[in-house]
Symmetry: C2
Subunit: 380 residues, 2 copies
């Protein structure tokens, strides 16, 4: 028999891949169910796409995303088809595929949600994890202000249901440069990428050097929503951005005080495939984003859509530990009906299997005696 110990340490896992042990797994499961319950209650039906697909199909539907940092997928040849398969790094394109194929005839807007594991070849600098439990909702057939409002509200409600506090939402305008370049501050298409990059890194000198001097005021229209919006309105004297800014204002009004809102109109990281609106979600106790979303068009079908993704394993780090329920020790010859009744009441039980076992050592807080659970002292 091959002993893994001959080859590498038995407990070594590849970089960026982790076991979730009972306490952490319980937090993740509780957060997942709380989020899914919110999506279900708002009429989103869950779909379960496969872990693997033809690489050409997944990559084609990922469009800009596939080129983004850290989204590269593991690939391998399928002996059954002799084609290249890929392990999904994002479930959003799969939901788009389902909407465009099996559910092409379903009425729009179509509300779908999903939850599953995703893997990337390379971790990002901010997050060493290569596996992520992704949960999200997609509103297919709409990318309006109303759709965007629903997506943001739903994401905030899901995070709160998972027990997170101090939620903030950072709005962005992914197609800002293209819009201004066409309608307000002319910029040749070949210079836009450089301008976007300098805006993203907030480099005023670089922006001037890239010929984007007219875009300098955008660097200062960032921060708490009301102030940043006023700054953007001042930049937008010609009204090129008016519909977008009115949209942001309507979304913010819907959110009210459910979350703190900020605006960073030039942020583009992670929004490579969004259209007019994008948002990033943060929560107290977590430095990295816990999710993001926005409006987009489904690659291939070009249908408008709005959606968001939450990173469950990350947000579960700040989620409360689910309350422990009594664990009742069932000694030899216990009353099986009484034990079943305790379980039906929500208690947990562990049964004695061998002489010498001590329920306290096995994590039990109570013992079944005379048909009722009696508290045990902690093991000394």
């Amino acid at each position: 028999m091959t002993q893994p110990n001959d080859l590498l340490p038995a407990d070594l896992l590849p970089e960026g891949l982790e076991d979730r042990l009972p306490l952490e797994a319980a937090r993740i499961t509780a957060a997942m169910r709380a989020c899914l319950a919110v999506l279900d209650a708002h009429g989103y039906d869950r779909v379960r796409p496969p872990l693997l697909e033809f690489e050409a199909s997944l990559a084609g539907r990922m469009a800009g995303v596939a080129k983004g940092e850290g989204r590269a997928m593991f690939r391998f040849v399928d002996p059954a088809s002799l084609r290249t398969l890929a392990l999904r790094s994002d479930m959003t394109p799969q939901v788009g595929r389902i909407a465009a194929t099996s559910l092409a005839a379903a009425a729009r807007p179509l509300r779908l949600c999903y939850c599953g594991d995703t893997v990337v070849i390379k971790a990002s600098q901010l997050d060493p994890a290569r596996e992520r439990l992704q949960l999200g909702a997609e509103l297919i057939g709409a990318d309006s202000v109303a759709a965007a409002s629903e997506a943001v509200m739903l994401a905030v409600e899901a995070l709160k249901a998972a027990g997170l506090n101090g939620i903030s939402v950072d709005f962005t305008l992914p197609d800002l440069v293209d819009t201004l370049a066409e309608k307000a501050f002319p910029l040749a298409p070949e210079r836009r990428e450089a301008v976007r990059r300098e805006l993203d890194t907030k480099d005023a000198g670089g922006l001037r050097a890239a010929g984007g001097e007219a875009y300098l005021p955008l660097l200062y229209a960032t921060g708490p929503f009301a102030d940043a919006l006023a700054g953007l309105r001042a930049v937008d004297a010609g009204g090129a951005l008016k519909s977008r800014l009115d949209g942001l204002e309507a979304i913010a009004a819907q959110i009210g005080d459910a979350a703190r809102i900020t605006l960073d109109p030039t942020e583009r990281h992670g929004f490579e495939y969004q259209s007019w609106f994008g948002f990033t979600l943060y929560a107290e106790g977590l430095r990295s984003a816990v999710g993001r979303g926005g409006t987009y068009r489904i690659a291939g079908s070009e249908e408008p859509a709005t959606g968001f993704t939450l990173y469950l394993d990350r947000l579960a780090e700040a989620a409360p530990q689910p309350g422990a329920v009594p664990m009742v020790w069932l000694p030899f010859g216990h009353d099986r009906a009484a034990a079943a009744a305790l379980r039906a009441q929500g208690m947990r039980t562990r049964a004695q299997l061998a002489e010498g076992e001590d329920g306290r050592v096995l994590g039990c807080t109570h013992i079944l005696e005379g048909g009722i659970p009696v508290a045990l002292e902690a093991p000394s």
Copy 2:
């Protein structure tokens, strides 16, 4: 932008991989939660191992399993470590690894459970699926009759909780030939594999040709539990199997009439790594097995263990469809507090996003009017 349509039909998935659309996904999720609730109630703590591991580690811990039909794993080189990674085809070895490493110091018996996606390169003849949602429980540190009884009872209770009927359990004795060859009907080690094979295929002529004439009566000691056990006791005049047969009888007595019990002592398919006891689970309406389990030793640590696996996507085919809850249409300007109250009561809502939308077409059974849900007529 690459159009997947240029390359292959947009809705084509690789052989053996499938989307689960809303109705089926809801059945799978309901069955999964019902099964997990049973395992949790009986004191099994969930762990979440990663989708990928070093191939050497996974394969080493799979021992016999890796060689079994259809369990081959997808492999690929990890650019981060330059080692070969594999996509898990079975979560049991991962739970064994966790028990032997991170939870090595936890008290025994250790009760762990898991649920996650697994993938094999090649489907089996009986089941074209290459992806399976596997759920299971492992009782680590015990492979006694009491442990085996707990595993069988738990598996049956989980299947019932998932809504399955007509459950039957087929017992087997995976190490039967080795035991008899050493203690009753001598057989050189190099001839045992042929005898096992002919017994498994129930080929009397082949069994004689393989030198296993003494094993012929085993072919008839199969069927309903009481009769088959009596047949085996008759074969076992020398008492080589006595402890095993007493064990089977004790397990069967515990199950009572919770499930129909059969015995097929020579079945070995899927039990390549089990020790003295194995079982296969069937349910009404499903021709293929819905799960299997048994006693074994964890490869590497050689710790005794007992466990079982359920194939959730397969058993969900016969599970009842979860009851539909009212879906309430929320027209423009609806009372948001009233809508939230309906959701808190377990109803689902879908909100109007644009002029011209018809709640009935969007699957709603009710409309929120005057703060209460009013039934809608079905769309004509």
